[in-house]
């Protein structure tokens, strides 16, 4: 089985925030690979570090955050090594774009939508004439099924769904090969969310996009990802193809997470949650960060972070329960 070269490969990424009470180890040794055309869902609850991973990939971390180790290789170049200026000129938006959750405030409230789209295009593709830019923008708007009047509108005049489509249009403006959807549909109503996700599926094919989908909602991941990566408290717990993840989750956290999700079908009795609370990230447990809440925890879990075990093709788990497959270590 030949695996194509990944478009994005994140290796052992760690991010630390400086904060009042000391350093917060928000992301620890995260390794992710994303092949061209694929869609990876990065799922995790609050504090899991999933959005920090996205920010690190785009080098948009806040001032008090720092990548302490690891590489972010995109199409053969380590983004972590690039200067900001270089990143701005060649990579941001031309190669990597992002759609944020907070769509209603994601554009300047006092400038027209068209002006802001045009401004970005002008910046990224200075060679285009005004007419060419106009043509490109109108084309993209149509691609995301927005009426032309959006150009003349201000953000507050658009509904949540339209605004989110606008943000997708903005992301696609320079037809980047890679797109991050960071909780892109979280603020939307059920029906609109489904609509936008369907739209994204269509655009993924149309624009041949490779996407990293970040969400706390496994339903969203199920709707749009090919494979799933689960994060907990800054650590990557499990990576698996979507079907395998939902049918046979391996990590105790993954299992508990899926069990917590209320369903529309099947048993409706009591929901099961995960007792306990997130560990404090400025002083994380030395071993597996899930160990304090894990029903299967054993002494060695708290000793050192468990390694990743490969338990099936494309399926890795960071849990010592899978130590009986030593030959499958990656």
């Amino acid at each position: 089985m030949t695996t194509p070269n990944p478009l994005l490969h994140v290796q052992d990424l760690s991010v630390v925030y400086r904060a009042g009470e000391g350093a917060i180890h928000a992301v620890q040794d995260v390794t992710l690979s994303l092949e061209p055309g694929r869609s990876l869902g990065l799922v995790g609850e609050s504090g899991s570090g999933k959005s920090t991973v996205a920010a690190a990939i785009l080098r948009l971390l806040p001032e008090n955050a720092r990548i302490t180790s690891g590489s972010i290789v995109f199409d053969g170049t380590d983004l972590a090594e690039l200067s900001d200026r270089n990143l701005d000129r060649l990579w941001r938006w031309r190669q990597l774009a992002i759609v944020f959750q907070r769509s209603l405030s994601a554009l300047s409230p006092v400038h027209r939508v068209g002006h802001q789209l045009d401004d970005v295009l002008k910046l990224r593709e200075p060679g285009l004439t005004e007419a060419q830019r106009q043509e490109r923008i109108v084309g993209i708007l149509r691609a995301v099924r927005l009426p032309d009047r959006v150009l003349r509108a201000y953000p507050f005049e658009l509904s949540g769904g339209m605004m989110q489509r606008t943000m997708i249009a903005l992301a696609l403006l320079c037809t980047p090969p890679f797109l991050i959807l960071d909780e892109a549909t979280t603020a939307l109503d059920v029906i609109t969310q489904a609509e936008i996700l369907r739209e994204m599926e269509r655009l993924r094919a149309e624009f041949e996009l490779t996407t990293l989908v970040i969400s706390h909602d496994v339903g969203v991941i199920n709707a749009i990802a090919d494979s799933v990566a689960v994060m907990y408290a800054g650590q990557l717990m499990e990576v698996a193809p979507k079907e395998r993840f939902f049918s046979a989750p391996a990590h105790p956290y993954s299992k508990a997470l899926i069990a917590s999700v209320p369903r529309l079908r099947g048993q409706s009795g009591r929901l099961t949650g995960i007792p306990g609370t997130l560990p404090e990230l400025h002083n994380p447990p030395p071993g597996c960060r899930f160990a304090p809440r894990c029903p299967h925890a054993m002494p060695r879990c708290s000793a050192a972070p468990p390694p990743l075990y490969q338990i099936a093709p494309r399926h890795t788990v960071r849990c010592v329960l899978y130590d009986q497959h030593p030959e499958q270590r990656p």
């Binding site: 701005d88 941001r92 994601a106 409230p109 006092v110």
Partner: protein, 321 residues
């Protein structure tokens, strides 16, 4: 937009009327009998006080006085000053140019300077620039204007001799033509500096806070992600958003420009309306005070209107909602 303006204009009229009623009532109900004051408080006989009361038109019942005032007002007559026995409008107009020159100039400089410095500090919080500017802003905010004024006089007029001590022109020299303008400009420096220094911290702090807040807004992150340089995001987007609250405060402060800055006018012997107002208060010069208050109400209303227009131009959410 037209509808919006029409609406705003319509609300000004009742506002003005209300302010006239309230001013009139407050003045006349406040303690202190102008007749007694104008007759000379201790030595005047009751007959003299009564005569003064009649002369000032204060012997009629209050409603009659109010209706008379309204009637005069309707004919564009602001009345005759108790103290100066001259039309209130003339007295105000006498002082208007000096007032507008000083307070207007300093308001504009304070606004522009405060906004620029606030923006510079807000862009890089905790930088050396930010820390020193913030320290200065707190310092000057805490200094009473008249004290600062005197300090500037002692340093720049008495010690260094760079600027004249006070007044608006060199009374001895009596310049004419362009020299006269230069002379006024020379006299303006210290009072303007005083007002700018005490007002700038307000604009500085509002702008700084607003810039800091705007830089945390999601759209800034969006544009950062597109690879737009900080400076461009700041100039094109954050600054305009950040200026909204500053503009509001500036607009309101413009409304008060006509009333001058009494304490600074006193320290620098600047012939502005602030001093006239203060004197009128002490003298219980009702017509003059009513005139000044009415002027204030009008200009504040207009300033609010203007601010609304500017705000609406800057912020479509106001304009279109």
């Amino acid at each position: 937009m037209g509808r919006y303006l029409g609406r705003q204009l319509l609300t000004i009229i009742p506002t003005l009327f209300l302010s006239i009623v309230i001013n009139f009532a407050l003045l006349h109900l406040a303690p202190g009998d102008p007749a007694r004051i104008y007759a000379g408080q201790d030595i005047a006989t009751e007959a003299q006080i009564e005569a003064t009361r009649r002369a000032l038109g204060l012997d009629d019942p209050l409603p009659v006085q109010f209706l008379r005032y309204l009637k005069e007002l309707a004919q564009g007559n602001l009345g005759i000053s108790f103290a100066y026995r001259r039309p209130v409008l003339d007295l105000i107009l006498d002082r208007m140019p000096a007032t507008l020159l000083l307070t207007g100039t300093s308001a504009v400089i304070a606004f522009v300077g405060g906004a620029l410095l606030g923006a510079a500090a807000g862009r890089r919080t905790m930088s050396r620039l930010d820390l020193s500017l913030s320290f200065l802003s707190y310092t000057f905010f805490a200094i009473p204007a008249f004290w600062l004024g005197l300090l500037l006089i002692l340093i720049f007029a008495s010690k260094l001799g760079w600027f004249p001590t006070s007044g608006m022109r060199d009374v001895r020299a009596g310049y004419t033509g362009w020299r006269a303008w230069l002379d006024v400009a020379h006299h303006m420096v210290l009072p303007t500096l005083t007002l700018v220094l005490v007002q700038m911290p307000i604009f500085y702090r509002i702008t700084r806070a607003s810039v800091v807040q705007q830089q945390r807004e999601d759209y800034v992150t969006t544009f950062r992600a597109t690879g737009m340089p900080h400076g461009r995001i700041f100039r094109r987007y954050a600054m305009r958003n950040a200026l909204l609250p500053t503009v509001t405060v500036f607009g309101l402060s413009l409304g008060f420009v006509v009333t001058g800055a009494a304490l600074v006018e006193i320290v620098f012997a600047w012939p502005g309306i602030g001093r006239l107002t203060l004197d009128a208060v002490f003298r219980r010069d009702y017509p003059l005070l009513l005139g000044i208050y009415l002027l204030l109400a009008v200009t504040v209303s207009l300033a609010i209107l203007l601010t609304d227009i500017v705000y609406a131009a800057l912020d479509p959410r106001i304009r279109l909602r």
